[in-house]
Symmetry: C2
């Protein structure tokens, strides 16, 4: 700090001359460092005149959003210092990498995480060189960027991430910069409503900063062009009190930004005080900032006679072909020198002490805030023993239960046990009760800050079940919650989880990078999906609600971060849930039904089955005499398991000498080769289970070809015949939807007799039986509108070997 | 019409007693018919007391949204009659099936499309029975519903569909009912901004009707609970002038709705007049309606002491277990009789003439509006001869071109040729120029109704390129545009098309149902995607921009409606584009790069190649002497094709006696068995191309396992070795991203020598060469930040057989 500079002078708003000078210097430094990252290979301090060889041969990077984000960052620094705040910075606009990296380097954090990017000339050279360079860092804010929980590549999720981060973090403020391009996306548009779920007594605050720089890649942005009144009305309508900071002249803009930021932070403090000390329960009107500045602010105004600053041409590189074009080289040099680097950095390349006066210290630096490296703060959930929630299963198929309802009781007690830690929430689009997890409402409620009417049920500002009819917002909240070191579960109708396919992609990529390449990022809790109301039980909602393809989508991502479980009953669901909630850095997909269904495994057997991930169900098999089955009947998923066992029943009745081995798969990844997935069975184990030469009839929950894609390298793949959903659906009965897709017990029976040579003589008779049953079925449902009693009331007969539920 | 009833009396607003009576009767009738659909198997006119056997055994269906939608529908009918308007009805809320079906039956359309659902007692019985019944119709508004272009299953797309429908349909009004649940979704929230792209001089109008009935499945809805001021502010901020119709008493509500509807339609007419006759160019403030009515309006107020009407308990079945519970049966009967069916229907079961007085005639009936069966109105595009846009390719690999730029010129002239038909638009999230389709801007502009500044480029209210940074909105617009009988193309970055995965699902389901099960729905133009800026050329944007998985997602849907093309160069892209734009009822996915790349086929060869979908490239192969290659090198996608040919080059140089067959796949579906996809090769043809026993090294654009999933049944599958994207990415050079995924020429060379037994003796030497090259590559890029000159400047040498570009 310069000797004649006092705290008050630096921090006052409006700023004193000293304060103004300091903050402007910081901004210039960040801008300089950003331009350097985009352009320079060498000569980082411009100690020599700029020459072509100092320029990167392949220019990549984006300037447009950068100066505005630098402006915000340095002003936030002032506020942190003045108020000793815990703030994390969320960079929503695309391509904000150079800005955040510049600031994190200035505050010293970057060099602590990456010692070769030191705060000196050599470090600055490395800083510049690595940006968008092979072996270097991406052009977006990314997992590699200290202080970020948000990847700036795919747009739309900044605000939901910000809210997720501050839930249950009462002392945290998430400053969330929203680009005006990003603001056009659906997920962002919906996420403004997040404030209706933020309890100022319990949660922290989000300060949205809508950054209108007017342009996207090649277009004006909508929110920057609509009339001022309309914009104000829109943001007011979303429930915020917008403060406008608009202009392009540095001095008055610094003054405005400093005052407005102070006003906003004062209001946040008042809101929190009112809620925490005075017990006010109304949803407050939270402040926000609209920052309207030129795109590419402080960059070249024109290049080759074309408007660049304050136009979309500044989106990427304001000046191109710098190596080849001497005029452009000169322009770049003038531009960089306009920041007066010699005043900003010491001759050795460190930031001048004057700049450092405006930089927070230690963990208060936004680049080093532990909330942005949530694994540092992560506490394991206290989990009750899931075995205690188990369904008593005296013998396989002797009792019915609703799997997700059983899970609900487990979740309820997890919620209760971790109440004081405030680190567990359940998310879903208005489906928690529909998905039978309503035991949760015995101990908590839905989060709700609007009016509550006398007859409303389970709504409370303190609720820990997060329901909004926006899968995007649920997903964004949960990601933000997990990345800041907490735990959660997302329950969703299976078909509609595709709504967040692309968000899943981005989170999987984040986890892949962080878990394999960024040791300083500590492991976070896994993102757990419960997909229920699944394809086979959407007969009543029809074709639009039938899609089991999320699993296919998931398995395209790195095997190191994805897991897929298809528990066949309630006890296996409990075991899987327990496992997933303990795991770290994964995305776990659990698919399980909510309807009353037969239960197969007692708790001991369930635990063992889940530990293996795949087992031969001896109690359902009768090939143990010589270990040579006629056929392997495999199944994955609760409904396919039921149909397989029903088919076994029929086969054993009709063909008493048939030898069937029943295999159940709970962990889908066991089917992959071990080299492809850590859970993959060895070829030897796979051959032991599936044989090397017997027909395999595989009843699978989803699209059948996925099983082939997982198992095509296995010895017995040529004999693998898979049934699953083949995109035949409508509104009908639960059994009929199986028939439409050839996954019902009768089709499975036909599949078996068709493929077992030894049964050829009896095939015609069995097939006639199957045809008759299918005709009877169709006639019955068209007359009665429901399935035949023998289908609805079917019960596993357990002919032989079924003496215990164990194995 | 009753004899003493005049037109004026029925149509006045406020309504006369006669008009009020008539409209209320229509509403009662629709409500009655909706309840009947949900509950009754028999006794449709309640001519006998209701008995358990009259009730469906399995009760399915949703009442909550129904009475509100019926209310809207009958009021729209009045307006259509009074003003002779062309209105289509979009039912956004979930589960609106009973409402729309009831009204379409009342207006007579339903019986015309489905003669067994006649306007008499037997027909009414069938109408009731079929609803949510096996072999019947879904519970949502669906393809089966005459008058609908919108499936009410997955929420969020009603408003973008409505805007898509009225673009270029100046005389059409889309009345778009938006549920308050749906309004929470991201896609819906973004799509309010669609009015900023609607030109009142050229396009029709959308009348949004936000239907606040207060509750979702088990929760209050946000927009119904926020303060009135906030809601008004939000809608004003979105650019609309909201009119509120709020209440629960039928008479005043009818009066309010009639007046407000008149005001809105007057304003729409004024806006259109000002734009069309007076040439006003400003974006107007369009009117909209907020209809706040109780959920489950007119249904039971309480059941078993619990609040039902005006609460979420009316969402589904207000009264359950009706067969079993006599009190419930009585309640249902009272409820149904409260509509006084005996006044509404003749003894034979037809609607009373009084009701028919409020029903529009012929094509003015919303159920029979031809715009909602767009294939009826579809005119083929006028297409110039795509061959004229071809790149001259004197010999394979002798010239470079940017494929999408070449396509852009073709699109430009299509745009021009069809200007007067106004039936072609191009959609994309701010990427048309970035995707090199900017030739379009020679003949049209981006659609833009906001201010246009002097230096803005290619913005106009008359523009036909639709750009908003919301993939959801682009997709919704395009679907609405196509389903009303027009043509379009969606260009998108490949990675981010996953944002609309779930919308793709729903459109594919719509097409599957309509093309196979609903003959009265005429074929519509295909939905065409151009995916560019693809995975292999996102090295600069980094990992978040790298995802080729949309193809995997697409091929899960019915083969009858999906097509996937990977043209290897500009001329094949032209041929494929021409084909797609002529096709009907498909979803075509075209993946093509935008960077300058070597061109392989002259136009004649390109056309032939695309016609086959897969060919042996003789000019690149040297196995023709005895037709026995050592290896088949297959490729699909522009970059994999380049790498394959570069690998061939190396192999032929290093191993002069190697015999390589090069196979290129442009139509991915040729790989599937013919039984699985109509484009699938016969096994014989497949064996001819891929051999039955030679190693196949397949370089594929996307995730490699997709090729296995398509080809696992083929004879030579065991020798198939696929390289593709295996989720390894970052910011690096274009070639390095290939190296990271083992898809580069060097890895392909190593793959070949490893698998061809005859080359075992030379394998070690070649593999050493490969290792050296890869090390050199890494060193070079880390030093220079760009690929080695021998990579950048590589050129196909065309050693033998390459005398013509033909074959």
């Amino acid at each position: 700090m310069m000797s004649n500079q006092t705290q008050e002078e630096v921090f006052a708003a409006p700023l004193t001359q000293t304060g103004l000078h300091a903050i402007h210097a910081c901004w210039r430094a960040a801008n300089y460092l950003a331009v350097g990252q985009i352009y320079l290979l060498d000569n980082p301090l411009l100690l020599q005149p700029l020459k072509p060889e100092h320029i990167k041969p392949r220019l990549l990077g984006h300037w447009g959003t950068t100066p505005g984000q630098n402006f915000i960052y340095v002003h936030l620094n002032r506020a942190i210092l003045q108020r000793n705040l815990d703030i994390i910075y969320i960079s929503g606009p695309g391509h904000g990498g150079p800005a955040v990296v510049a600031n994190v380097w200035l505050e010293g954090t970057y060099s602590e995480y990456y010692p070769n990017i030191s705060q000196d000339e050599a470090g600055m050279k490395n800083l510049f060189r690595q940006f968008s360079f092979p072996g270097g860092i991406p052009s977006h804010v990314a997992p590699e960027t200290p202080g970020s929980i948000h990847e700036g590549g795919e747009l739309g999720y900044s605000l939901s991430h910000a809210f997720g981060a501050v839930f249950d973090n009462p002392d945290l403020v998430a400053a969330c910069v929203i680009g005006d391009g990003e603001a056009e996306t659906g997920p962002l548009a919906a996420s403004w409503h997040s404030s209706k779920f933020l309890n100022p007594a319990r949660d922290g605050a989000v300060l949205p900063i809508l950054h209108l720089n007017g342009y996207k890649i090649a277009n004006p942005s909508l929110l920057a062009r609509i009339p001022h009144d309309e914009l104000e009305s829109l943001l007011t309508g979303y429930g915020y009190k917008p403060y406008f900071v608009e202009g392009s002249e540095a001095e008055p803009m610094h003054q405005k930004m400093a005052s407005v930021l102070d006003i906003c932070l004062d209001e946040i403090a008042e809101i929190q005080y009112a809620a925490r000390k005075q017990g006010l329960h109304e949803r407050p009107c939270w402040p926000m900032i609209v920052l309207r500045t030129p795109k590419g602010w402080t960059g070249p105004k024109e290049v080759d006679g074309l408007k660049v600053e304050d136009f979309w041409r500044s989106h990427q590189l304001p000046v191109t072909a710098v190596r080849e074009n001497p005029a452009h080289l000169r322009l770049l040099e003038e531009w960089m020198r306009s920041y007066r680097p010699e005043e900003l950095f010491t001759p050795s390349g460190a930031p001048q002490p004057e700049l450092m006066a405006l930089v927070p210290k230690g963990k208060k630096r936004m680049g080093d805030n532990p909330h942005a490296n949530g694994g540092l703060l992560l506490k394991s959930l206290r989990l009750p023993d899931f075995r205690e929630y188990g369904v008593a299963v005296p013998s396989p198929g002797s009792v019915r239960a609703e799997a997700t309802m059983v899970m609900g009781a487990f979740l309820r007690d997890i919620m209760k046990l971790n109440e004081s830690s405030r680190n567990f929430r359940v998310f879903g689009p208005d489906e928690t009760a529909s998905n039978r997890l309503d035991a949760l409402f015995q101990v908590t409620a839905r989060s709700w800050m609007e009016n509550i009417l006398p007859y409303d049920e389970h709504l409370s500002p303190d609720g820990r079940v997060m329901e909004i009819l926006s899968e995007h917002t649920c997903q964004g909240w949960l990601e933000g919650y997990l990345l800041t070191g907490r735990h959660g579960l997302f329950s969703c109708y299976e078909a509609f989880i595709h709504i967040i396919d692309s968000m899943f992609n981005q989170h999987a990529k984040w986890l892949k990078i962080t878990s394999t390449q960024i040791p300083w990022r500590r492991p976070v809790a896994s993102l757990n999906y419960l997909l229920t109301s699944h394809v086979w039980r959407q007969d009543h909602n029809g074709f639009s609600h039938q899609d089991p393809g999320f699993i296919d989508h998931v398995v395209n991502k790195k095997s190191s971060v994805i897991r897929v479980y298809l528990p066949p009953d309630a006890n296996t669901l409990l075991s899987v849930t327990d496992h997933c909630l303990k795991s770290r850095n994964y995305i776990n997909v659990i698919v399980a039904g909510k309807q009353p269904e037969w239960q197969w495994l007692d708790m001991e057997a369930a635990v063992r089955h889940c530990a293996f991930g795949i087992s031969i169900w001896e109690w359902a098999s009768n090939d143990s005499a010589d270990g040579e089955p006629d056929v392997v009947m495999a199944c994955a998923g609760d409904v396919p398991t039921l149909e397989t066992l029903a088919a076994v029943d029929i086969l054993r009745e009709k063909i008493p000498d048939i030898k069937i081995r029943v295999v159940n798969v709970v962990n889908l990844m066991t089917l992959q080769p071990r080299e492809e997935h850590p859970h993959g069975l060895s070829d030897r184990d796979f051959d032991d289970i599936f044989t090397t030469d017997k027909p395999i009839i595989f009843a699978y929950h989803g699209y059948p070809w996925l099983i082939h894609r997982l198992a095509y390298r296995r010895t017995n793949h040529k004999n693998l015949h898979v049934r699953g959903y083949k995109e035949e659906g409508t509104t009908t009965t639960p059994f009929d939807i199986l028939v439409m897709n050839d996954l019902d017990r009768f089709h499975l029976v036909a599949d078996v007799v068709e493929r077992v040579d030894r049964l050829r003589d009896r095939a015609a008779y069995i097939k006639q039986f199957v045809r008759d049953m299918l005709i009877t079925h169709k006639e019955y449902i068209h007359e009665h509108g429901e399935d035949m009693p023998e289908i609805r009331n079917w019960k596993w007969k357990g002919r032989t070997g079924a003496t215990s539920a164990g194995d």
